[in-house]
């Protein structure tokens, strides 16, 4: 498991390095590079199906290095980090990815999920809202609804937490009052 996490973490450092990777790969035919990157991405799916996570992650990284302009391999890497419960790394990775793809609603949706799982409430809400805004502006009502549902879940969670906190505070206050009153009676 540690090995898997280490492999996935390597993916984190790759994110946000899109431009330098592009520069490194520069000079070749763009279309050929994009085709090769697509093949690597598809190959990563086959490796995943074969439960060969290391090979899959390697293919995803290679795909990103060849064509940093395709968000799909980034999204799969982010999802794999979340699946490996590397929530902080996933959030960091997707935060960098969002810088590369500032108008991609799916990237922000995944960033929101990662932050939510990492316990970063405000960044999670902000990312979900951004995701909703992007999908809505693009007229993608289906995905906008999914983002809205995520946002709604987080609001409900926050309300439930606040309610629980209020109850806990009221309970503590009551206990303190009883303690003081008890002391006064004595």
């Amino acid at each position: 498991m540690k090995k898997i996490i280490a492999i996935l973490c390597l993916g984190v450092f790759l994110a946000g390095c899109g431009k330098s990777a592009q520069e490194q790969a520069g000079g070749g035919n763009d279309q050929q590079r994009q085709e090769a990157a697509k093949k690597l991405f598809a190959q990563s799916m086959i490796f995943l199906q074969e439960k060969n996570l290391k090979a899959s992650v390697d293919s995803l990284k290679a795909s990103i290095a060849l064509d940093p302009s395709d968000p799909n391999p980034y999204l799969v890497l982010g999802q794999l980090l979340i699946k490996a419960e590397e929530f902080d790394n996933a959030a960091q990775f997707l935060e960098n990815t969002a810088k590369t793809f500032p108008d991609n609603g799916t990237v922000y949706y995944m960033l929101s999920v990662a932050n939510r799982m990492a316990g970063n409430k405000l960044p999670s809400v902000l990312a979900a809202r951004r995701s909703y805004e992007i999908f809505s502006a693009a007229g993608d009502q289906v995905n906008a609804r999914t983002s809205a549902a995520l946002l709604e879940e987080m609001i409900k969670e926050a309300q439930a937490a606040e309610e629980a906190s209020k109850k806990a505070s009221a309970g503590a206050l009551k206990a303190a009052e009883e303690l003081v009153l008890g002391d006064q009676k004595k």
């Binding site: 086959i46 199906q49 799916t106 289906v142 609804r145």
Partner: protein
């Protein structure tokens, strides 16, 4: 060519791209991955249309793992069925059999997950595919007929009716 591949692709459920995309409200710890599952399924269809079946299957499997809805399961089963049929046609009986067996498992799962009233058309299609698998892949016309009948019970599935007529006339 005993399998109705053309029919199969016509029957890939386009609505599945968006199935379960808008969950009901409420606090849930389950992550809704339908957004990226939809992307993966779109890429699967793209790969299949370009004849890259293995890649298509891998994308579909990924989408299904992320968001295991009945629609996605039926789509995945349909592609497994098509690939199994192709392997049979190419003479790879063992691989073909393995793929059809997996298609059968997925179809059974889809049938169990569908709402039989609301999604009768899809349940009927799933039973039809099971009939095809048993008739052509597993050479069991008796059980195939049973599946075709079940298909017709759910919905007036014309291919199932024709298949039953074919079995009665002794034609595969």
């Amino acid at each position: 060519m005993f399998f109705l591949l053309g029919l199969l692709f016509a029957c890939l459920v386009p609505g599945a791209l968006y199935a379960d995309a808008a969950p009901e409200g409420g606090v849930s710890s389950r992550i809704d991955y339908s957004i990226i599952a939809n992307r993966a399924e779109a890429q699967a269809i793209d790969a299949i249309e370009q004849g890259r079946m293995k890649e298509g299957l891998a994308f579909m499997r990924y989408a299904l793992d992320l968001d295991p809805s009945a629609f996605r399961t039926l789509n995945y089963a349909s592609v497994l069925f098509a690939e199994g049929a192709s392997e049979f046609d190419r003479g790879s009986k063992t691989l073909g059999h393995k793929l059809l067996k997996e298609a059968e498992n997925q179809l059974s799962r889809a049938i169990a997950d569908f709402d039989p009233q609301e999604h009768a058309v899809f349940v009927a299609h799933a039973y039809f595919l099971l009939g095809e698998i048993y008739l052509h892949g597993f050479s069991d016309p008796g059980l195939a007929q049973d599946f075709y009948y079940r298909s017709i019970q759910y919905h007036d599935n014309e291919p199932s009716r024709k298949a039953v007529e074919g079995i009665r006339r002794g034609i595969k």
